[in-house]
Symmetry: C2
């Protein structure tokens, strides 16, 4: 496990503190685990960080205090460990009250109404310190990957290529979807990943017409298109790949479907460049499928950001200017070097099946770098 | 995949509607995925249910509409599918506005402040319909497992016993923690589980002193205690088991630590019976460790409820009456037949290592039924 260095964490704290200052916050409560990890290197499931101009107060419970003292604190500038007593909410209220902050920001997208109501009441009727809902403070920083994160992604892509080549060579008629999924997950772990980055999808025949089918005991049979969508976590970072194989020679309709999606994917990746709106990527991929008459068969976004979460900003989807009142949440992003996204158009046709092809790409100064490379041609098994 | 039957879902809807009526709700927004699954059988990641006296309005997006139409709707009484347009929040606001409800409950523990604020604004300044924060409506129903759920747990326990026996027979000095974890996860999948129910823990030597260490490339060596904590998901339900093995003959201190934890676990399970407060289970286990002078070494709760989530109500922890303002969230539960919990005391001693022993038990009409049975004696490898 590589932990972020002190310098890296200091830079992330500085970025968050700049946003805090611009938003008039004296302190900022971070509850979302990937954001806690991004700011501290902590990999556990439960902790709260209260970032102030001088400190990163780290609240966690007895399960994690030894880890924090020995592994996290030495690398994290300004970390002050506070052990939960008697519970998280009460400890947080105490820290916020004692800190002397007047305006305390919190992550509105990640704090539940229940916790907010409790905290508000615990801080007293005077409403001091005042809680202020803020959004995307850490997420906005996370969109652009720094050099260390980019290196992690390149390593993860190489690992995933090797696993994928192995997986594709192992697909056979007669296998059950669930067994193939188990093989994939095992290969991911043996291939150097900490764990799968999401529930592996093996969707065969009619299941392939459902973009998010779960593997079950269906047996792969001649005539099936089989969508394999899997990925792993490497040093905390998620990569994600989809290939579609044909069991036996595909018919002309299946070949046409595959060709359309492959062309759409190349068009999507071709639209990835610094300075371009991320919506261009979706438009390029979707436009190809629409020309094939497959617009309605493409029922999801073209991709998503990757990072400490398998789905993070930006959403690589259609332009959303026409949705009143919906915050863009990264859909209006202008691509810049360091952004990592998936490009994964698909087409799903009941009665025929489905095709999805997905790779991960990094926006560079010059254009785009493919992070995954395993053969994209239709594989017939 | 076994989907709940119509009768079962109708009974769950009736329970939820009884709570709605008692809370004065005309409609109830369910956003927490396990609660959505419990009420409908839907296994996907994203959907919102608006339960009304007559309907279960089911909001989901294009990824899932085919699955809902073909698999979920036929079994779910009163389901009306509404496809997301243009996004979840806006669709939810429309459904709530059109439904004519005056008081609409929502899950305060699972709705973010961001979504609440948006929804409140979208429903208009008149505040009609009024949103009302409610808590534990579905969770309270889920605590007591019905006959079908109990049968699922018994099957899952048998599956986990077989996997655990296989795992324990495979532990060897010289293995890396991460490789052993990969083997465990593969055995879980090959053993009939959909996936691991949480990140498998393999904590050896000094890592064993950290209750939630992550497996890394440390190699198992003579003198190590090794904590193996793993479980699987079977038909959506989570089971969870921990065994501790010794690499080479353990010293007297390690043997004493093991004996204390084993005695504590038996005492904990011995306190499980209908009519008893769940805190009795923690008191019984904790009392044993305190008598051994290991009270401070036992830094977590004795257990937790199991179900569609790996951690659900009740918390099997110390009595919390002394914590002002903290809602009990199931810690004050009186055990009744159908409740499923883990009993997993541990002791963690820097310099020596750690021991945890965990089984899953079902409260019966007469007392307690062990769901997991694999040998609990200290295994020396």
């Amino acid at each position: 496990m590589a932990y972020p260095t002190s310098d890296l964490l200091a830079a992330r704290h500085a970025s968050a503190r700049a946003t805090m200052a611009a938003s008039g916050l004296d302190a900022f409560i971070v509850v979302h685990p990937p954001n806690v990890r991004y700011l501290t290197g902590f990999t556990g499931s439960t902790a709260i960080v209260v970032l102030t101009p001088a400190e990163a107060v780290f609240i966690t419970d007895g399960r994690y205090t030894t880890t924090v003292e020995t592994v996290v604190a030495p690398n994290c500038p300004g970390l002050r460990l506070v052990k939960v007593d008697p519970n998280y909410d009460a400890t947080l209220a105490r820290i916020v009250s004692e800190g002397g902050a007047r305006v305390v920001g919190f992550e509105a997208a990640h704090m539940s109404v229940k916790r907010f109501d409790w905290l508000q009441a615990a801080l007293g009727p005077a409403g001091r310190p005042a809680l202020k809902a803020v959004d995307r403070v850490v997420e906005a920083i996370r969109v652009v990957k720094d050099a260390v994160e980019q290196a992690t992604f390149r390593q993860a892509g190489v690992l995933l290529d090797a696993v994928a080549a192995d997986v594709l060579a192992s697909v056979r008629a007669g296998m059950r979807e669930c067994d193939l999924a188990a093989e994939i997950d095992y290969k991911l772990r043996r291939g150097g990943f900490e764990k799968p980055s999401f529930d592996t999808i093996v969707a065969s025949g009619p299941h392939a017409a459902m973009p998010h089918a779960r593997p079950d005991d269906r047996v792969l049979a001649a005539g099936d298109l089989v969508v394999l969508d899997f990925g792993g976590v490497h040093d905390g970072y998620c990569v994600d790949l989809t290939r579609t194989v044909s069991v036996g020679e595909p018919g002309p309709e299946a070949r046409r479907l595959y060709a359309a999606v492959a062309e759409a994917q190349l068009a999507g990746v071709g639209a990835v460049r610094p300075g371009a709106p991320v919506t261009n990527v979706d438009e390029a991929a979707r436009g190809v499928l629409e020309r094939y008459g497959l617009g309605p068969a493409f029922s999801h976004a073209t991709g998503h950001g990757l990072g400490l979460e398998i789905h993070e900003e930006p959403r690589v989807g259609p332009r959303r200017a026409d949705i009143p009142g919906v915050p863009p949440a990264g859909t209006d992003l202008i691509l810049e070097p360091g952004v990592v996204i998936t490009v994964e158009p698909g087409a799903y046709v009941p009665g025929l099946g489905g095709v999805r092809i997905e790779d991960d790409v990094l926006v560079t100064r010059d254009g785009v770098e493919w992070l995954t490379h395993v053969a994209r041609e239709l594989r017939v098994v």
